[in-house]
Amino acid sequence: MTRTIRLAGRQALLEQRSFWRSAEYALFTFVFPLMILLLIGAANVGSHLPGTTIKNTTVFVPGILAFGIIVAAYVNLGSKVAVLRHDGVLKRIRTTPLPSGAYLGGLLVSTIVTALLITVATGLIGWLAFGAVPRADESLALVGGLILGIVCFASLGLAISSVITSSESAGPVAYASFLPIAIISGVFDPTFSGLPSWLSRVVAAFPVKPLAEVLQNAYAVRPFTAWDLASLALWTAGGACFAVWRFRWQS
């Protein structure tokens, strides 16, 4: 057991080093969300949600927190595992006595580290640039929401990796499969509304809006529903089952 943990740690370290050496990964995972945070955030300074005293940015910043987690856990892990599979790296790992758990554990730990780093960066910039801070009495809910979000989207990332058919399409497929939902979930626009009701129901069925709502509650008084938590839990379980069922060591 200790050996597996030690090996997983070692693997995570290699993954992190490789991640920061790759301009495209680091750029798309970090620069993209932070740029959106600054640009759209700037456009919302001084505005309030219609009919309330809640500042737009207090809702927008946690929305971008959700976005960052999705990029780090879902897009990054999903495309990474797909590339590892199609490039034959997973196949090579199978030729060694490294326990599968240690390898996949290492990938997950590295993903969690990346997700936490992007969360901290988003939170800091949100605070420094827009004065958005979480509510003190909701810090436990915030941490819980972050953990749930990372776990949920990491399991979905592993699931999507099995659907991706080549190294080249990995990034585009991962992005294309969630960006539209993120947009109509209002992640980029705090005042986003006016969807036809059937589409709202569709959006609510996906885990993006629930995660955004859980995090937004920790920043502004906008209570989330039990459905939000249930949705995240269901998607986590579904993603994990699909990932385990479809997992292959080679393409």
């Binding site: 290699l14 590892l84 790296v89 196949k91 060694t96 006595p97």
Partner: protein, 323 residues
């Protein structure tokens, strides 16, 4: 057993078998890829599974490596059953697959270090880099390596756990001559460490250059096994004797030797024989009788692997390309 000091003529070779294969069969659906394969690899030797594409070489290796359970037959690798003891086997056997990738952003030395951590008693890093001649690029990212360098990195990773046995599946396919030469040098280095090596190839020169013993696999069966020389001899090929055609013979001033089928093509006279000594005696007696001296340019050529191989794999043509 893995003493790395000076090694003359593979003292590590013993009669114990590192790999034992008996009656191995493998079918994918209705297609029979292996139809009863038998061979054994001794400790410390370089054993080559030679055959055309589609002969079943990779499938055989995959079974020995524990990636596929065979349809039938008995397999022992380092005394283990690969189908049920794969994890244990992987601690003691290094595997170079035909194609598999690297994490592209990892550096050479860093990657080998991580690989070493997977094994209970790894070889030292500097030693590994030296064996595969990658010491100069130890700080280079894998994606910047040439094809030949990557292959040698494959070797280093397969060797990281200081295995007793190394599998090499078509180690130089698609390489230019210089890259091949360096790969061969790396394989020679592995041999120098006393490792047992089981390699597959469809290149004759590779088998001839590297292998202590060869098994020719064709259409799912082993046709012949033995040293290069034995394989050629057992294929029933004749020894070739040639010499410069004496001018008197060319001008028909003397009769050709009795009982020998001599073919004269310009300046060369050639005959084939199953009994080289006897034929030579007859030829030299004939030369003495006609005052031709010792026969200029006399050459006796043992049957070569290439002849055997072409005879075996060429004759049955299309069949060899199946599966």
């Amino acid at each position: 057993m893995t003493d790395t000091s000076v090694i003359d003529d593979h003292p590590a070779v013993t009669d114990q078998l590192a790999v034992q294969v008996r009656g191995l069969r493998m079918a994918f659906g209705a297609t029979e890829v292996l139809r009863g394969v038998d061979f054994g690899v001794r400790y410390g030797e370089v054993f080559c599974l030679l055959g055309p594409n589609g002969a079943g070489k990779t499938t055989t290796l995959e079974i020995l490596e524990g990636f596929r359970p065979p349809t039938a037959g008995e397999v022992r690798v380092l005394g283990l059953d690969p189908a049920t003891q794969a994890a244990k086997l992987r601690e003691r056997a290094g595997m170079v697959l035909q194609e598999c990738g690297f994490p592209r952003q990892a550096r050479v030395g860093e990657l080998i270090e991580v690989w070493r951590s997977y094994y209970p008693s790894p070889r030292p890093l500097g030693d590994l880099l030296e064996v595969v001649e990658l010491t100069e690029v130890r700080n280079t990212q894998v994606r910047k390596l040439s094809g030949g360098q990557r292959r040698r990195l494959d070797f280093a990773l397969a060797l990281a756990g200081d295995p007793d046995l190394v599998f090499l599946d078509e180690p130089t396919t698609g390489f230019d001559p210089e890259a091949r030469r360096r790969c061969w040098a790396a394989i020679e280095n592995l041999r120098g460490l006393g490792k047992t090596i089981l390699l597959t190839t469809h290149y004759l020169d590779e088998a001839e250059r590297l292998a202590d013993r060869i098994a020719i696999l064709r259409a799912g069966r082993i046709e012949l096994t033995g040293t290069t020389h034995e394989v050629a001899t057992r294929a029933g090929l004749a020894t070739r004797i040639s010499f410069t055609t004496p001018s008197a013979l060319r001008r028909r001033q003397i009769p050709p030797p009795d009982g020998i089928e001599l073919v004269i093509s310009g300046s060369q006279a050639v005959c084939h024989t199953d009994n080289a000594a006897m034929t030579l005696r007859v030829l030299l007696a004939w030369a003495g009788e006609h005052r031709l001296g010792d026969l200029d340019g006399l050459a006796v050529t043992a049957p070569r692997l290439e002849d055997t191989y072409l005879q075996l794999t060429g004759a049955a043509g299309g069949q060899a390309d199946r599966a």
